[in-house]
Subunit: 165 residues, 2 copies
């Protein structure tokens, strides 16, 4: 099995794939008579105009390291934002596109507490892989009639975090 | 001071004002090879077409009970969704509209763990009032050029949760 090392989630490293949603990366505006800081507009949400954005909840089973996978997917019609609702880290697997297929160099990022992520429209990514906590996430993505998912299966599996146990 | 009792957040009671975002209120679809439940499209996000929806983070100072306020606000151009990122309850103050002003019968709801809310476009509501935790919320609302906030100040304050201490 081909092995992938886990990287800490970093906005620069992740920029190819989407946005890191983290208040520590942004300058706030003070609102509510000084009682609240607003860090505005942290995700690129451009999408196909045949649908609209919606808010959903995902409740995922927890996964364990080392984590083995053979599949990535992408949503051609819109972005997909994941916001963990219990402040627990989760694993984010992505790959670049090359001619309509994943490039074959997937990367695995581990979020920090309170970080969310947004996959830019069409980004190849693994399924939701929480490692701790409730597995409950808010998700913003495209809602519409057309099919919005492509899957790609590698013949051989990848293994993530083999050295972390 | 006029006193307001705290109600537990209930989707039927809150329906006048917006949506309760709670996976326990919805039927899921199984995704990701059985590893994840998807509870889809839980908030009404209709908005003025001169702008778009964005994801922001709000970091609010904690408030304490009893909580005193004189002001509510509303966003005429779009909805506003609040998702607590640490699974802690928060207070939600709302009032109905009557001829362009709040009706003068504000209500105060306390969320359960893992509940978010969405204010329907134009709903009068209090400022963000977390009582516990980090005060960190993901917010989905309208991003655009025009002004998107009306404030209303009552001459006399309201007090919330006077009996809860």
């Amino acid at each position: 099995m081909r092995s992938i090392e886990i990287e800490n989630l970093d906005a620069n490293a992740f920029d190819t794939f989407g946005n890191v949603i983290d208040f520590r990366l942004s300058s706030p505006r003070v609102i509510n008579q000084g009682m609240c800081l607003r860090f505005s507009d942290l995700a690129e949400l451009g999408h196909d105009p045949s649908g609209r954005l919606g808010v959903s909840l995902f409740k995922a089973r927890l996964h364990q390291l080392p984590y083995v996978f053979k599949m990535v997917e992408r949503h051609p019609l819109g972005p997909q934002t994941f916001l963990p609702l219990d402040g627990e880290p989760f694993l984010v697997i992505v790959d670049e596109d090359m001619g309509g297929q994943p490039r074959g160099h997937p990367r695995a990022f581990l979020t920090d507490r309170y970080q969310g992520i947004n996959f830019r429209r069409g980004t190849w990514h693994g399924v939701l892989t929480p490692l701790y906590g409730s597995g409950l996430f808010a998700v913003i993505d495209w809602i519409g009639v057309a099919s919005n998912v492509d899957e790609f299966w590698w013949p051989e599996p990848w293994i993530v975090g083999q050295d972390s146990i």
